[in-house]
């Protein structure tokens, strides 16, 4: 099938943006001590993965005969968003239960379970 008018954004730029956001998110997860902040950085990482899917779905939508994969890319983004919502609900419930036990969210002080 012939591609319709192309959008003037090279998909590699979107991929580069997703790489930068992933690096920022990972550093947030590794360097913050506040549990909520770690969770927020995790959301940045999930979003950067979504953006990578979007970059490839965007590219495949203009290719010949790859529209099915492009649609699958968008569906996958939809499911990643749903899974992130479920994970946020359960993770924050865990934080609340943990706060009731330890009175803190600082992950360096939640070290009751040692080997």
């Amino acid at each position: 099938m012939s591609p319709a008018e192309l959008v003037a954004i090279p998909y590699t730029w979107v991929l580069a943006l997703s790489a930068v956001l992933f690096a920022i998110g990972t550093m947030g997860v590794l360097l913050r001590r506040n549990g909520i902040a770690i969770f927020l950085s995790l959301e940045i990482m999930l979003n950067s993965a979504n953006l990578a899917f979007a970059a490839f779905a965007f590219r495949l939508a203009a290719g010949h005969g790859t529209a099915g994969e492009a649609l699958a890319g968008q569906i996958f983004i939809f499911f990643v968003i749903a899974v992130a919502a479920a994970e946020a609900a359960v993770g924050l419930a865990l934080y609340i239960a943990l706060y009731r036990l330890k009175e803190t969210i600082d992950v360096d002080r939640i070290n009751i379970l040692r080997w």
Binding site: V7, I9, V14, L17, L30, R33, S41, I44, A85
Partner: protein, 167 residues
């Protein structure tokens, strides 16, 4: 012109992602993440995925981050976090790994041929909502039902974990 809008949205996303990670105040982190998700929705819309842009704002900015805001208010978190982690060597190694993974994907992006993409064929005028809707109840039905089961499990789990009488 679309390229400039994309670059502006990308710059906003990076700036606010850094603002969501670096400052030690959880409120600033959450609010800048709201703006970052807006920039991401703008990028999705530029790439022709309008339905996903709306879903990104409704679910991420309008629901998940409100949940984060409620939890921050409930736990009354203030800026008591000390700077830096307690284990500097591991932190340095972690930062190196993060930079490496980011750099790897950047190198991939630089090596690939920078081709342009397009909107989903068949969705140029009506938008992608119809095609995604058809796919969700057609070819991707099983995963759709499974995700709804996952969400029910998450709701039950969240309610159970925060009940006060049980430990």
């Amino acid at each position: 012109m679309v390229t400039y809008v994309f670059l502006a949205a990308a710059a906003v996303a990076i700036v606010f992602a850094v603002l969501a990670v670096v400052p030690r105040n959880p409120m600033i982190n959450v609010l800048s993440l709201v703006v970052m998700f807006f920039a991401m929705a703008a990028i999705f819309a530029l790439l022709g995925m309008d339905f996903l842009a709306a879903i990104q704002i409704i679910v991420y900015s309008g629901a998940i981050l409100v949940l984060f805001l409620f939890v921050i208010m409930l736990l009354n978190l203030r800026t008591v976090e000390p700077f830096g982690s307690g284990r500097p060597l591991q932190a340095l190694l972690g930062v190196l790994v993060a930079a490496m993974i980011g750099g790897l994907v950047l190198a991939l992006a630089a090596l690939l041929h920078p081709e342009l993409g397009g909107v989903l064929p068949g969705a140029e005028e009506t938008g992608t909502a119809l095609t995604i809707g058809r796919a969700l109840v057609g070819s991707h039905l099983f995963v759709f039902e499974f995700i709804s089961l996952l969400l029910v499990a998450a709701i039950v789990g969240a309610v159970y974990l925060t009940k006060k009488e049980l430990r």
